[in-house]
Amino acid sequence: MQKNSAYLEPCTRLLRRRSLHLTASDNADKCVTGVRRLLMFCSLVILIGCSSLADKKSGEDTSGVFEPALREDMIADLVSVLPQLLDPLGNTIQIGSEGPAGNEFVAKKLIDLGYGIQRVDADQGSNHMRLVDMEANDSIDIPTTRLLLSIGDIEISREYGIVKRSMGYSNYPELRWRGDDAVIPVSKLRLAGTRQAVELVGLTKQLDYTAVENELAKQPEFIDGGVQYSALAPIKGGIPTISLITNDIIERVAESASGGPSLQGLNSTRVEVSNLFYGGDSTFESVLDNYNRIAREIVIFPNDSKRLGKTGKLIVRKLVSRFSENSDVIGIIGCSNGRTKLQIGNEGLALGRAKRITEELLAAGISPDKVFDEGCWSPTANTRGFPNRGVVIDLWRRKA
């Protein structure tokens, strides 16, 4: 710096005087040399600066620690089951023009499978695709990640780990080696929003850490992979309320404005539903018109409770096993009739019980738009055939 200032001093003086006469030849020479060195310094800065910018650009968008090729193997595994859930010839998938690393690869895989692709600039479309990196299980001793692929209201997710050749897995033909690394699932394939039976066609094996976690073994087992059904990821901020505003309701609200139990409430998906205690048809009658009821189950809840219990869960599971993905919907009427000590009142209890059953159905993989839950509630006992503290579950099948 000292040196530089020595070179620059003559220039400074010259400029300060605002006279660049070459007659002061010594000073001029020193000035030229100084400027030259400064320019060389600038060039160096330019090169370093520009190259660092370039590095950033080429290195961005790799989404985490995994090599793109390994990430693509994970995506390929998730996408491989999609044709069993959505017919490629009859479905077009919307893909945003901007997205995380892997979006373009998903698009390529979908095209290969025969899907139509629609480019969208936001999140348009009933089959809009999202690829999300979820939090993975950090108790496993290899690097892991959970990837979630969502198409419309179907979610496919799985947790993957990276193994190295040195770990003793090089003999497994299932693994696709990328240099020294390979992707291996460390969980079952998780499906949400659908009950469709699916057979694994991508990575069919998985590492099972159960024995390691229970300290029964030091090494995880290499086992056949499986499919697990679960509920959709929660929606941040919830769903906007959908109000019911039929004339009939408006009249009845006016009639009962003096008090008494409410005539509408919000169901599990924040759709406003009528209180069936006072008669009238199901809020969803216009939909259910096209279906035949093929089974009815009643789950009885303990007094002032939303606890489903073993028997209740068993009844729900039995119904789920009869559910057919392409033709069925489920109607639920949660009831609470008679006195309650709970602050939420009969309405909260009735719709809460319906919601509890809905949650159980969604956890089994059933799509929320195939469940129609409503309620009947009153401080007095029921005479219309609804249970006083139970839930009626109907399985409806589309008319042929």
Partner: protein, 353 residues
């Protein structure tokens, strides 16, 4: 120590300009489909020709989008891998227009896309016409390619649809190239003698129309406008008379800010739930604009976004009505807080159970 200010400024300028300057590499990606294009063919085509083909493709597709039967937003077209430069720019335009594109190996599908370029020597001189067909619908126009510019030399001819009177051509994309008093005709006509047509006008192109490349109307801009016109015009020109209808459901969707077109999972789920209760004859009324002055372009865009969502669930665009401004609230133009779009489902009184 004092460093000369001019010297530092010069050094800074040199530094910045060095980082800004990019090597002049030809970027073919704008002419290629997002997936499965033929980059070799495009690379072998002169840049000027590619630009001309891009204009032609944009012009043809923007007309196609406005044909109601095409139902842009919910239609999937089947296309084979393009083998020509025109094919590449055309498939790219279809992608940008918002059509779903399904790649097929032969001519599978109800909406298989065929296209062509025909050169003929006629009594009026050489003529090149370009066309695109989807099923029964065909859009065709003649163009002159001279000295690196391209201008239409006929009206846009549409066959297979009678709903052509609402088509508006964005022919200014041609005038932006500039000219020396050249003129061309702009309008839409039908192949059949008794078919409908739009107003036909003559457009003159002068040297002062020349617009620098970077300031010209983009392909996305033209096609976006064409798509929005379909939704907007439908509600404006054929509003549904809601006398005899009753309200059934109502919801209020919240968008994060004035400019956002992203609906988010919650809003999307609400639409999905409303759609499951749809019955033939129902109408969804969408109100996005509540500005006192009665105008808000961004609100209009949000309303269209909501309509697009209904359409993607298979609801016909004619069953979604975008309401005019209800002039209810004052909102400063700089206010970027969340905004609401109200959706009401109507059903004919005699269509209830």
């Amino acid at each position: 120590m004092r460093i000369p200010v001019r010297l530092v400024a010069l050094a800074a300028a040199v530094t910045l300009s060095a980082c800004q300057s990019k090597p002049l590499v030809r970027d073919d990606s704008q002419f290629l489909p997002f997936y499965d294009g033929d980059s070799d063919v495009v690379a072998q085509t002169p840049l000027e020709e590619l630009r001309a083909l891009q204009l032609i493709s944009t012009n043809l597709v923007s007309a196609l989008v406005q044909i109601p039967e095409m139902r842009v937003g919910s239609t999937t077209l089947q296309v084979s891998k393009p083998r020509t430069a025109f094919g590449n720019t055309l498939v790219r335009a279809l992608e940008e227009a918002g059509f779903g594109i399904q790649r097929v190996s032969a001519d599978q599908g109800l909406n298989y896309v065929t296209y062509g370029k025909r050169f003929s020597e006629t009594e009026t001189g050489p003529v090149t016409d370009y066309s695109i067909s989807v099923g029964e619908i065909e859009v065709r126009r003649e163009y002159n390619l001279t000295d690196g510019s391209v201008f239409p030399s006929s009206v846009m001819l549409v066959s297979g649809s009678n709903s052509i009177v609402d088509i508006q051509l964005d022919d200014e994309i041609f005038t932006e190239q500039g000219g020396v008093g050249d003129s061309f005709i702009s309008g839409v006509g039908s192949e059949s003698i008794d078919g409908p047509s739009t107003d036909i006008r003559t457009v003159t192109v002068n040297d002062y129309d020349t617009t620098p490349l970077e300031k010209r109307t983009t392909q996305v801009g033209v096609l976006d406008r064409a798509r929005q016109r379909v939704y907007q015009e439908d509600s404006k020109s054929k509003p549904v008379n809601l006398v005899g209808f009753d309200q059934l459901r109502r919801t209020v969707l919240i968008f994060n800010d004035q400019t956002s077109r992203v609906m988010g999972r919650g809003n999307k789920q609400a639409i999905r739930l409303m759609v499951r209760e749809f019955r033939a004859g129902d109408v969804y009324s969408v109100t996005a604009c509540t500005d006192v002055d009665g105008r808000n372009e961004q609100a209009q865009t949000r309303a269209i976004r909501v309509e697009e969502e209904f359409v993607s669930h298979g609801i016909n665009a004619s069953a979604v009505q975008i309401e005019p401004c209800i002039r209810a609230s004052y909102r400063h133009s700089s206010d970027n807080s969340p905004v609401a779009v109200s959706v009401v489902q109507y059903r004919r009184s005699d269509n209830f159970n």
